[in-house]
């Protein structure tokens, strides 16, 4: 899974679910709170469907309109490695800017 390229929506969902399992509505609000970006229903569920198909998240139970999702072990690993590479990139960028 590590060689998947995460879309920004997918990354936001993984970060949101890293806290606790959430349903779509809660994800939408949480993502808006942490990133200032409001994902439309189409974008949100487009990314959820991909993450679910790639086994990075899973639906917890059949609760109809409020079905919660949680990170899988693979999802946690993917998020962790993605954040690590972002951290490296940010560090490199900051270092280079400071050296100018």
């Amino acid at each position: 899974m590590a060689n998947h390229k995460l879309s920004s929506e997918a990354l936001l969902i993984l970060v949101s679910l890293a806290e606790e399992p959430k349903h779509g509505y809660a994800m939408q609000h949480d993502i808006e709170r942490i990133s200032g970006r409001r994902l439309g229903p189409g974008s949100l569920y487009g990314a959820i469907a991909r993450l679910e198909a790639a086994d990075l998240i899973e639906a917890l139970s059949d609760k109809g309109a409020r079905r919660p999702y949680r990170l899988t072990a693979a999802g946690s690993r993917t998020l962790s490695s993605e954040l690590e590479s972002m951290r490296k990139l940010a560090a490199a960028g900051t270092r280079r800017l400071a050296a100018r």
């Binding site: 995460l6 229903p41 189409g42 974008s43 487009g46 198909a53 639906a59 109809g64 409020r66 079905r67």
Partner: protein, 248 residues
């Protein structure tokens, strides 16, 4: 819920899996162009990836080859796609409005002058409006007819007058107007200009959409410049110069 009908654009398999959940979000969202665009784009995406929306993949080992980023080279594509979809929606709405306007002005059947004269003599006409070489008749059963008459009119007005004298209790209302066809001229001008107006509106919308996508970049740049200034990488003077350049 008419908003939910947009979800019918999605493939059946996807709907079976996600419709209820997405429907709840759609009900909650205010109806806007961006919502429609979001759902239409999502539907395109779902059709392009029919493998999405499988009942449940928990515990399965498959799915490894599904790209997590929608198939699109670069970040520009979604913006262009969004504008394109908005343009198509606007165009369809515009053409629909045009047809609605046309449908609102019902077609008036044109009949021969001889038939009109017979109808007048038979007492089947309630009102006659003569306008240059056109006469519009309102029949007693509520229908409207139009006929062409020689100009100046010597026959129709005469026939109405004769009929009114012969049958005073059922007077036919006769109105002669001197070419006040202003409204129809305005209407036809408006109709002929409508496609042009629509085109201008489309271009304006596309331009504003592009401007909107560009605007945040300027402020991101400013924020980065401010950050550089705060950290002492650039001086206040350099910051002000760059700021003027960015905001110009």
């Amino acid at each position: 819920m008419r908003r939910r009908s947009l979800l019918r654009l999605y493939p059946l398999r996807w709907r079976q899996r996600y419709e209820e959940e997405v429907g709840a979000l759609v009900d909650d969202a205010p109806l806007s162009v961006s919502l429609v665009v979001d759902l239409v784009r999502g539907a395109f995406d779902a059709h392009a990836h029919p493998e999405l929306g499988a009942p449940s993949l928990v515990g399965s080992t498959g799915g490894g080859d599904i790209p997590l980023t929608p198939r699109s080279p670069g970040n520009q594509i979604p913006v262009i796609l969004r504008v394109l979809v908005a343009l198509i929606v606007l165009f369809v709405v515009g053409v629909g409005l045009l047809y609605a306007y046309r449908a609102q002005t019902p077609a008036v059947p044109t009949v021969s002058l001889a038939q009109v004269l017979t109808e007048i003599q038979d007492g089947r006409v309630r009102a006659v409006t003569i306008e240059r070489n056109q006469a519009t008749l309102v029949l007693t059963d509520g229908r409207t007819e139009r006929t062409t008459i020689p100009e100046p009119d010597t026959i129709l007005a005469q026939a109405v007058t004769t009929r009114n004298q012969a049958d005073p209790p059922h007077v036919i209302e006769l109105r002669v107007t001197q070419g006040s066809s202003d409204f129809s001229i305005v209407g036809s001008i408006f109709l002929s200009l409508l496609p042009l107006l629509l085109l201008v509106a489309l271009i304006f919308l596309a331009a504003s959409a592009f401007a909107r996508t560009r605007a945040p970049q300027r402020y991101e740049l400013l924020a980065r410049l401010g950050d550089l200034k705060d950290r002492g990488v650039i001086t206040e003077e350099e910051f002000q110069r760059e700021k003027r350049r960015v905001l110009r």
